[in-house]
């Protein structure tokens, strides 16, 4: 590999003779930067590291870039959940059961206010259905303030703080309104409230922590299983290979959801939340590893016959050295891409299991746990925003899929 810039002195001659190489790679890269002269262009490609070339291929996928940005934003949200959420996820107010989402306004009576605000919420009995219904009280405005005092929290369980990214300030009463019959609730519920009057926006943000991390940890676990077992299978071949392949085929022939359901139902009821979390992660990766193992094995099989492996063997390199120094680096990027594509499947599975009540249980907050509330059609009809955690699941899965697709194409353009 011509990763070392000091080699660039030779490129002048090399690039003339290796027009074929230039064409081959150039076809991919020309669009990325059209303003370089042909010579510069060829030199640039010649001295590019594999990682650079991957990057050039990756940024050509518009959807992959969008996906990557969304994924980064989602994980940042999960990391800084305490700061971003305006409330504590367990702060409840029974009077606010199923309060509707509050819209952020800029204009009041047609006048631009200069700063965003929300209207107050009040309750009134509907004369037809006799049910208490929420109404916006347009005479009271709560300006949206940033970095405000709110429920105290500990960031990452360590740093005590009580400032939130946004919240509401002191109410502004309309002069024309006079005394409101009932003082409005001073809340900012961007995505409404749940059965206990807890802020959905806050809970979704906190839920992202579990839902997104279970995907990562689960895939990391399957990655270890998959690489080790797939590697053994592909490298040694023979009886071990047949055995591992049989096991993989067997696991795949069993419908996964019933299997997951049975395994999660067998987790003892008295386990703490953290143990259940890891239990579920392990259960999910029990099936996930098979896909990665297949990919690794395929790579090992095709690479075992390659000249550079043969050369390494003739040069007297040991098995471990061949595997770790020569084989693994050449398919690692592809593996990372496959692993990225496995994350959304994990997230979906966790959501499904928790939704059924077999996965994580309240008070743990994950998107699946939040969706449990929407199992009841009546509450969904009353409060459609209970379905919103599902929208976040869909966005996450889509973004990860696009990101992973782009990564795979970049890592392995010939596959």
């Amino acid at each position: 590999m011509s990763a070392d810039p000091s080699l660039s002195g030779q490129t002048q001659t090399a690039s003339e003779t290796s027009a074929a190489t230039g064409d081959l790679l150039g076809a991919d890269v020309v669009d990325a930067d059209t303003y370089l002269s042909v010579e510069e262009e060829e030199e640039r490609i010649y001295i590019a590291t594999p990682l650079q070339m991957m990057w050039w291929r990756f940024i050509k996928h518009k959807m992959a870039i969008v996906g990557a940005i969304v994924v980064i934003i989602l994980y940042l949200i999960a990391i800084f959940a305490e700061v971003l959420a305006p409330y504590n996820p367990e702060t409840y107010e029974v009077a606010l059961t199923y309060a509707p989402p509050q819209r952020v306004h800029f204009f009041h009576n047609g006048e631009f206010q200069g700063a965003p605000f929300v209207y107050g919420l009040t309750q009134a009995r509907n004369p037809d259905t006799l049910r208490m219904e929420f109404q916006t009280d347009e005479t009271v405005r709560y300006p949206v303030r940033f970095w405000v005092e709110g429920d105290p929290y500990k960031l990452w369980g360590l740093i005590p703080n009580s400032r939130h990214l946004f919240g509401i300030g002191e109410p502004i009463y309309d002069a024309s309104a006079g005394e409101a019959a009932e003082a409005p609730f001073s809340t900012i519920f961007l995505l409404g409230a749940d059965k206990l009057g807890r802020d959905m926006f806050t809970r979704i943000i906190y839920g992202s922590r579990i839902s997104l991390s279970i995907g990562l940890i689960g895939v990391a676990l399957s990655f270890v299983f998959g690489v080790v077992l797939g590697g053994i299978s592909g490298f040694y071949g023979g009886v071990i290979d047949v055995l591992i392949q049989r096991i993989i085929e067997f696991i795949r022939s069993v419908p996964s959801i019933p299997l997951w359901m049975a395994l999660s139902a067998s987790l003892p009821q008295d386990w703490s939340n953290i143990r259940v979390y890891f239990g579920i992660t392990i259960i999910l990766s029990l099936i996930g590893w098979t896909f990665l193992a297949r990919a690794v094995r395929g790579r090992f099989l095709s690479m075992r016959e390659e000249e550079f492996i043969l050369a390494a063997r003739f040069a007297g390199a040991g098995e471990m050295r061949i595997i770790l120094r020569h084989m693994v680096p050449s398919f690692f990027s592809h593996l990372i891409a496959s692993a990225t594509l496995a994350v959304p499947a994990m997230i979906l599975s966790e959501t499904s299991l928790s939704f059924l009540g077999l996965g994580l249980r309240p008070p743990t907050i994950s998107w699946g746990v939040l969706l449990q509330e929407s199992q009841n059609l009546r509450s969904v009809a009353l409060a459609p925003w209970l379905l919103l955690p599902g929208v976040f699941v869909i966005i996450t899965v889509l973004a990860l899929n696009f990101f992973g697709d782009g990564l795979r194409d970049a890592a392995d353009p010939y596959h």
Binding site: S256, P258, A262, S266, P268, S374, Q375
Partner: protein, 328 residues
């Protein structure tokens, strides 16, 4: 051909044996059993449970024997069509599972048909009119379809049907038919309810098929023989359907093998949401109450279904493609 099928049938035996073993082990895993949780419940209600009553229950359900003995008994009986006894329902398991399994197959099959039709029609359209507005819309929809968990789709459809059309799409039968024996009227009623679960379960699969069909057909359409046909003045419709489509069809059959486990899996969760009288709700309940013979039999039968489905798809593929027949 017959030797191929025979070989595959022989291979099924160890797989099924393994599945039965693993189903049983998983069900055995949780500490305690149905009798302990039953007694705990009775105690909680303030009932006094006598020791001899407990012993009688334990012996009645054979829980005093070691697990391997119970497994062997269960397996031997299962081979004769007796799957044991459901603690919770106080009924033989075989009375409970067959109709539900049958309906699971019906739902999975309807979903398969739906995904095939959508995959075929939309896939061909998207390939023939590549980069048209319709292609972009379908591409976007298929990506969303792939990313939406099907229970979520079920929830959304139920909510939309309930809130905007005032109908309820849950269940598989109208109330008046639920407890009736099978008849043509009941069958017709089921067909009227089947569309919703079929669409919900089939969406993810059809999104995948649209992608494959589009990609395959695009590959074929750019081949010289298509160009030749066009140069010779062949009618465009005939040109597309006569050869390229047929070649591109292969993956439909080959993906059926793994589509089936997914459809069965998907139908389990969806049927819990839509409360369909299929395996889903009963399996969930059996797992939660440790009704072990019922749960283990469901696991075993669902896996068997999947394996038979995979076998059928392999046979169809072998019929289509001689290389597989000879090689395997």
């Amino acid at each position: 051909m017959s030797s191929f099928i025979f070989r595959r049938l022989i291979l099924m035996v160890p797989t099924l044996f393994m599945i039965s073993l693993i189903s049983f082990i998983i069900i055995e895993l949780p500490p305690g059993d149905y009798v302990t949780s039953y007694i705990a419940n009775r105690m909680a209600m303030g009932d006094d449970v006598r020791q001899d009553e407990i012993d009688a229950l334990v012996i009645r359900y054979g829980l005093d024997q070691p697990a391997p003995v119970r497994y062997t008994k269960w397996l031997v009986n299962a081979l004769q069509g007796n799957f044991g006894f459901s603690f919770e329902w106080s009924l033989p398991v075989s009375d409970l599972i067959w109709e539900r399994l049958g309906l699971t197959v019906v739902v999975a099959f309807a979903a398969l048909i739906f995904s095939w039709i959508v995959g075929l029609v939309v896939g061909i359209f998207s390939a023939v009119y590549q980069y048209s507005l319709g292609d972009y819309i379908f591409t976007a929809l298929s990506f969303i379809g792939l990313g939406t968990p099907n229970f979520m789709l079920a929830l959304i459809m139920m909510w939309v049907a309930f809130a905007y059309f005032g109908t309820n799409i849950s269940g598989l039968f109208s109330p008046e038919f639920v407890d009736q024996p099978w008849s043509f009227a009941k069958f017709g009623d089921m067909l009227k309810h089947l569309w919703a679960p079929a669409i919900i379960v089939g969406t993810a699969g059809s999104a995948g098929l649209v992608r494959t069909m589009r990609a395959n057909l695009l590959d074929e359409l750019s081949k010289p023989y298509v160009e030749t046909g066009r140069a010779k003045g062949l009618n465009e419709t005939r040109l597309v359907f006569k050869y390229p489509t047929r070649v591109a069809l292969n993956p439909f059959v080959s993906t059926m093998g793994w589509a089936l486990p997914q459809l069965v899996s998907g139908s389990i969760i969806v049927s819990v949401v839509l409360s369909l009288p299929t395996t889903g709700p009963l399996l969930l309940r059996a797992l939660l109450t440790q009704d072990m013979y019922l749960a283990a039999s469901f696991l075993l039968m669902l896996s068997t279904l999947t394996i038979i489905g995979t076998l059928i798809s392999d046979i169809m593929l072998a019929l289509l493609d001689p290389r597989i027949r000879m090689g395997g």
